[in-house]
């Protein structure tokens, strides 16, 4: 072995250990980077030993950089982030609905109680203008509350629509980024020794983000590109081709479609599994809110029908037959006191006879105890109470589901961290290890130098 060879070996090991220290530096730098997988220098010994000719030239070379990564775990994280995305979005929406129906002062139930009781109050003084105004005011407050609830729910659908548009834009952005990464990773080659590590981390993180938004699956093909599909097998990304999404509004509902095929309704594929934020948003706009609205409409329609029916059976203060008290309507948004009554309280038919008794007002107030809804099984107020109960249960379910899914996600994230995360203690140990080796290699150079000096001294 020549001294030059020794110098060469020292040079290689110095370079190798510096590389390892650089990589340790990279790990430390990315200790807080989401989705970063720690990397490890892979050393490989090289050279030959020939005892016969007293030759030993064994050095070291960096053969690659390993990305410590568990594909199975990563898949689970992607899957779980779909569940969390769905639960989170649904819980947010139901929280808002709970706020809309909040049972504090001035809630719809209070308004309804006031309305029924105003009739009872009118019965004790059927000609009283004050009592008549009181009935009108209570009716106007109640109808305004119903219209307010309806418009708040409509506003929620509108917000959800905006949210869906933003989410679609985000999805399309992710698709483009993933496809771009696919392109570079494929260009680097499947047998890449570490150049693609960072890109793969970024792509994993993007896939995780994307999975929180839509229900999707992905497979990595042999070239290293990931292909992303919707739950029904339709593509989002094939190698470097992306299939962007768009939003349309058929029949007042919200539908997610392909940008290039506006007739292919993807709602079913996106929402059937109850995964991803988009599923929750579509469910909100197309099912949850319309269901609550329908219940509200049924309540308004029942009040309108019952009150109008009884009101027409009575006589107003001028001795005419009662007309419609509420404008005839089937929706909460059109719930209002008829113009005839609101412009003249004497048109309120409080009396059961053409003379001024209060019996019809009594009958109107008694509607509160009448099983007027659910096919004659529940009162109007009870029906409202069960709507409130339903909302409460939905909120509770959504919250506990969110808690559950989040805790699973935390667990999975921890397991992913345990495998791929950066431990500073470990990096410190590595740093010391590589530094000591570097120092030793440096000592080797000094030694070789002294040996060279010794050799030169012999010649002198």
């Amino acid at each position: 072995m020549s001294l030059n060879g020794l110098l060469n070996t020292s040079y290689n090991s110095l370079q190798g250990f510096q590389f390892a220290i650089d990589l340790t530096g990279a790990n430390i730098a990315n200790v807080n980077t989401p989705g970063y997988s720690r990397q490890r220098t892979v050393f490989q010994s090289e050279g030959t030993v020939d005892v016969a000719s007293v030759q030993a030239q064994v050095g070291v070379q960096v053969s690659g950089v390993e990305r410590i990564y568990d594909a199975y775990l990563s898949n689970q994280v992607v899957n779980q982030s779909q569940m969390v995305g769905y639960s989170q979005a649904k819980s947010d929406v139901l929280d808002r609905i709970e706020g809309i129906f909040a049972e504090n002062g001035g809630a719809a139930s209070d308004m309804m109680n006031r309305f029924w009781n105003a009739w009872s109050g009118l019965a004790t003084n059927p000609q009283g203008q004050l009592e008549r105004e009181n009935v009108l005011a209570a009716a106007q407050d109640m109808t305004a509350k119903f219209r307010g609830l309806d418009s708040a729910l409509s506003g929620l659908v509108q917000d959800t629509d905006d949210n869906i548009n933003n989410t679609i834009a985000q999805v399309n952005d992710y698709l483009k980024q993933i496809a771009d990464l696919n392109k570079t990773i494929v260009a680097n080659g499947a047998q890449d020794s570490g150049n693609s590590n960072i890109l793969q981390d970024r792509r994993s993180e993007l896939l995780k983000q994307l999975s929180g938004l839509v229900d999707m699956n992905y497979v990595e093909d042999r070239n290293g590109a990931v292909n992303v599909f919707l739950a029904n097998g339709k593509p989002l990304i094939l190698e470097t081709n992306i299939y962007s999404l768009d939003v349309t509004h058929p029949n007042g509902l919200i539908a997610v479609v392909y940008l290039n095929d506006q007739n292919d309704n993807l709602n079913q594929a996106l929402s059937q599994g109850g995964k991803g934020k988009m599923a929750a948003l579509l469910e909100t706009a197309n099912t949850i809110v319309p269901d609550y609205k329908e219940k509200l409409n049924a309540l308004a329609a029942a009040i309108i029908a019952e009150v109008n029916n009884q009101h027409q059976a009575g006589y107003d203060n001028d001795g005419s037959r009662g007309s419609d008290f509420f404008t005839s309507a089937a929706e909460a948004r059109n719930f209002q006191v008829s113009a005839a009554v609101s412009s003249n309280v004497n048109k309120i038919a409080a009396s059961a006879s053409v003379n001024g008794d209060g019996d019809n007002a009594l009958a109107l107030g008694a509607i509160k105890d009448k099983a007027a809804m659910g096919g004659g099984t529940v009162t109007i107020n009870d029906s409202y109470a069960s709507l409130i109960g339903l909302i409460g249960r939905d909120v509770v379910n959504a919250k506990s589901s969110l808690d559950h899914q989040t805790s699973i996600m935390d667990q999975l994230s921890n397991r992913r961290e345990a495998t791929s995360g950066v431990s500073l203690d470990e990096e410190m140990m590595n740093l010391m290890k590589y530094q000591m080796a570097y120092n030793a290699s440096g000592k080797l150079v000094t030694t070789a130098n002294q040996m060279m000096d010794t050799l030169m001294g012999l010649v002198k």
Binding site: V31, N32, E98, A102, E103, S109, D110, N113, R114, W116, N117, S120, G121, A123, T124, N125, Q127, G128, Y315, D318, G319, S320, R321, A352, S353, V354, N355, G356, D357, G358, D359, L362, A366, K368, D369, N381, Y384, A385, S386, I388, G389, I391, G392, R393, V395, V396, K399, D410, S413, E417, A418, T419, G421, V422, S423, L424, D425, E426, M428, M429
Partner: protein
């Protein structure tokens, strides 16, 4: 294999547990601040349903109590008036007894007649008393004073067409009213058209219940009979009769009473509808075989004026009878007031029960909350303490 623990795991775990404790702490704080266990629907959906039921019950009770207060005021006013009426009748009786003896002269009887006249005027103002703007003894006919100063003969008012009617011809009533109580008749057109084709229905109880629909040709002559001697004649008009055209005919029996004696009702509990008025006929007579107070006083005055001793004595029994009649009405008022009082007591009990149930359902148990709060505080401090230790135990502390 030993699990690798990374920096992120330590921070994330610590953060998650801190957030968890904080949210529980916050929830306890909210309950503590409001002293309510149920602050939002999702705190207890089932409890919220019950609460809504309790609140509806509570609101109804408040209204029932208001109704009781209102009608009690009406009742005590009625009682006062009836007591005064009783006093007036006693005075009239004293006069009759005094002037019915042989010692009385035409002069004393003339003075007594003046007294009786004043008594009758006072009686009239009592019988026409109002509560607010409503006559106490009119029944549901509030438009006119329930008692007139002089006895009226039987009459039928001119028919009143409702403002919304299409028919613009004339409607006249004729005949002699034969019933002994005042009534309001209603005629409503069921099928519109000319007199020859239109049909109608009649109500004899001011529009509450209706008779059967007439035959198509019944109106052809233009005249229909309503019963009790009333006939109604339709004539002329450019516009035909239309569905819902309404005509009102008030008929008066002979006597002083102008009201209709209908019950005025209020609800003082769920389904508990109670009548709180005394009809003018029950107290002061007129129809239904009762003795008319004003007729007795008028007759007494006439007998005194004409110095008719037998006539004066003849009114003594009548005076006793009307006094009994007024007392009976007053005792009915007393009974109703008792009922109101009992109902009010019951409502108060019910209200207290509901308040109790409400606070059981939504009220917070302060003792357990305070304990919980202390526990959460401890947990919060522990998680802060743990978090502060994360950075302090690394290998960095030991390498130079």
């Amino acid at each position: 294999m030993v699990m690798r623990i990374t920096e992120n795991m330590k921070f994330n775990t610590s953060l998650a547990s801190m957030a968890n404790v904080q949210s529980q702490y916050n929830s306890v704080m909210e309950k503590m601040a409001s002293l309510k266990r149920v602050n939002r629907i999702s705190d207890d959906p089932l409890g919220m349903i019950q609460l809504l039921d309790y609140r509806q019950g509570q609101a109804s009770i408040e209204q029932y109590q208001k109704n009781i207060d209102n009608s009690s005021a009406w009742l005590s006013m009625t009682e006062t008036k009836l007591t005064s009426a009783g006093d007036l009748l006693s005075k009239a009786r004293e006069l009759a007894v005094g002037q019915g003896t042989a010692t009385a002269t035409a002069e004393t009887r003339r003075i007594a007649a003046d007294n009786v006249k004043q008594l009758k005027e006072e009686m009239l103002s009592l019988a026409n008393s109002t509560y607010g703007s409503r006559y106490l003894f009119a029944g549901s006919r509030m438009a006119v004073a329930p008692f007139s100063a002089t006895s009226q003969s039987a009459s039928i008012d001119a028919p009143v067409a409702a403002a919304s009617n299409s028919f613009d011809g004339t409607v006249t009533a004729s005949g002699a009213y034969t019933a002994d109580t005042n009534k309001t008749y209603m005629v409503e057109i069921v099928t519109g058209g000319t007199l020859a084709t239109a049909t109608y229905q009649i109500s004899a109880d001011d529009g509450k219940t209706w008779g059967s629909e007439s035959n198509p040709a019944d109106l052809a002559t233009g005249t229909i009979t309503l019963g009790n001697g009333i006939a109604l004649t339709f004539a002329g008009g450019v516009s035909d009769l239309a569905v819902g055209d309404l005509f009102r005919i008030d008929a008066h029996a002979p006597g002083y009473y102008q009201g209709n004696g209908a019950d005025l009702t209020t609800d003082i509990g769920r389904g508990a509808i109670i009548s709180y008025n005394i009809s003018g006929t029950a107290a002061f007579g007129g129809g239904n075989g009762r003795i008319d107070v004003f007729k007795v006083l008028d007759d007494l005055k006439a007998a005194l004026t004409t110095n008719d001793q037998a006539g004066i004595l003849a009114q003594l029994d009548n005076l006793k009878a009307v006094n009994d009649q007024v007392s009976l009405a007053a005792s009915k008022v007393g009974a109703t007031m008792n009922r109101m009082d009992i109902a009010k007591g019951n409502l108060q009990d019910l209200s207290m029960q509901l308040t109790d149930l409400t606070s059981k359902t939504e009220g917070a148990d302060v003792t357990s909350l305070a304990t919980k709060m202390a526990m959460q505080q401890l947990a919060l401090q522990a998680s802060y303490a743990t978090a502060s230790k994360i950075g302090s135990n690394t290998i960095l502390d030991f390498i130079r």
